[in-house]
């Protein structure tokens, strides 16, 4: 009789323990994601006309953004947010770098990309461009679409993705920040990836 009662209690104890452990695992689940079909290595040129090969540069947490220097709203809005994110870390030992890939190689000269760096002093920012085909292939790897719009005599805009791709030190996309994402979440993701 005692043996049956003990078995029941033991079974109940095991069930509760299993639920607790499973629940615990779920709570501690990493917010990072695994995007199997997104991302990859690419080779483009930076504002100093030097080759930028991601295989040699996935050293830190990478925040990749596809934009263009004539973009007045979303691109500076995103870069301003990343500039503010910088203030949440030790500026002498920042765990991330920002990679800006131009989707407007026609207008984004090396000079224009250099001016963009000057607008964000102290930010670990790399501004990249390349041949139209190279840009197209890179954007495709990250699922980014872009196209010219509002074409006027002396100006046009470019429709493009507003996401920021958080890429780990192995070149894998681990999170995608939407435009206007909270700095708290961005900081959290960067800190997890930097570990």
């Amino acid at each position: 009789m005692n043996s049956i009662r003990f078995s029941k209690i033991y079974f109940l104890f095991c069930t509760v323990l299993t639920i607790f452990l499973l629940g615990g695992t779920r709570c501690a689940k990493s917010p990072l994601l695994d995007f199997q079909n997104l991302g990859g290595d690419f080779v483009l040129t930076d504002s100093k006309k030097e080759i930028f090969d991601t295989r040699k540069n996935w050293k830190k947490v990478n925040l990749i953004f596809f934009g263009y220097t004539h973009c007045p709203d979303v691109c500076p809005g995103t870069l301003n947010a990343l500039y503010s994110l910088m203030n949440r870390f030790d500026k002498n030992n920042l765990p991330f770098q920002v990679i800006f890939v131009s989707v407007d190689p026609e207008r984004d000269s090396y000079e224009k990309l250099g001016l963009l760096l000057e607008t964000y002093p102290g930010m670990p920012l790399v501004t990249l461009t390349g041949q139209a085909k190279e840009i197209e292939n890179t954007a495709k790897m990250y699922g980014v679409k872009f196209s010219k719009d509002n074409i006027q005599k002396d100006f046009y805009t470019v429709n493009h993705s507003s996401s920021v791709f958080a890429v780990d030190q192995n070149g894998k996309v681990r999170y995608i920040f939407k435009f206007g994402e909270s700095l708290d979440l961005m900081e959290r993701i960067v800190r997890i990836l930097a570990k």
Binding site: P72, V74, P76, T119
Partner: protein
């Protein structure tokens, strides 16, 4: 002595003109000058800021909130700034993950309401920046309304 006899009268006359006649005339003239418009501004621009930009870098954007304190709707028809060659009103449209910009000709502000221009939404677009816009500086932006009201506002150059 006779020469100075009329001096008090002269002084009183000057005081009367200075303190009563001129203000009275001004009060009578102002309504004609303003063509029936209120002296107190009924449109208010707040939280105006402009993104830092380098000269010749292309463009910059501005954000603010416009409030209408009048009893009638008002329309923002034009914005002008000396530091840019051309100024337009734009709105960013988000569709799926892609952003697209559209030009807006005017912005209507209903009576007692306000319209907010913010990143990722409505914004001022400054084309061809003619001087460096350094963080911490201030620049003048002029707003023109349909009723004829014009507001010159100090904008802070800052990121957020």
């Amino acid at each position: 002595m006779e020469r100075f006899a009329r001096l008090p009268v002269f002084i009183i006359l000057v005081i009367m003109i200075r303190f009563f006649l001129i203000p009275a005339l001004l009060i009578m003239i102002i309504p004609f000058v303003l063509n029936g418009k209120s002296i107190i501004p009924v449109m208010q621009i707040t939280e105006l800021r402009v993104n830092p930009a380098k000269k010749n870098s292309g463009i910059s954007a501005g954000y603010f909130e416009v409030g209408n304190f009048s009893k009638e709707k008002e329309t923002l028809v034009r914005i002008q700034a000396d530091f840019a060659e051309r100024v337009e009103i734009h709105e960013t449209i988000h569709k799926n993950d892609t952003v697209k910009m559209v030009k807006l000709e005017t912005i209507e502000i209903p009576s007692g309401k306000s319209v907010k221009f913010q990143p990722g939404g409505k914004h001022i677009m400054f084309f061809k920046i003619l001087k460096d816009l350094k963080e911490g500086e201030s620049v003048i932006v002029v707003f023109y309304f349909k009723s004829g009201q014009k507001l010159s506002v100090n904008a802070q150059v800052k990121r957020q």
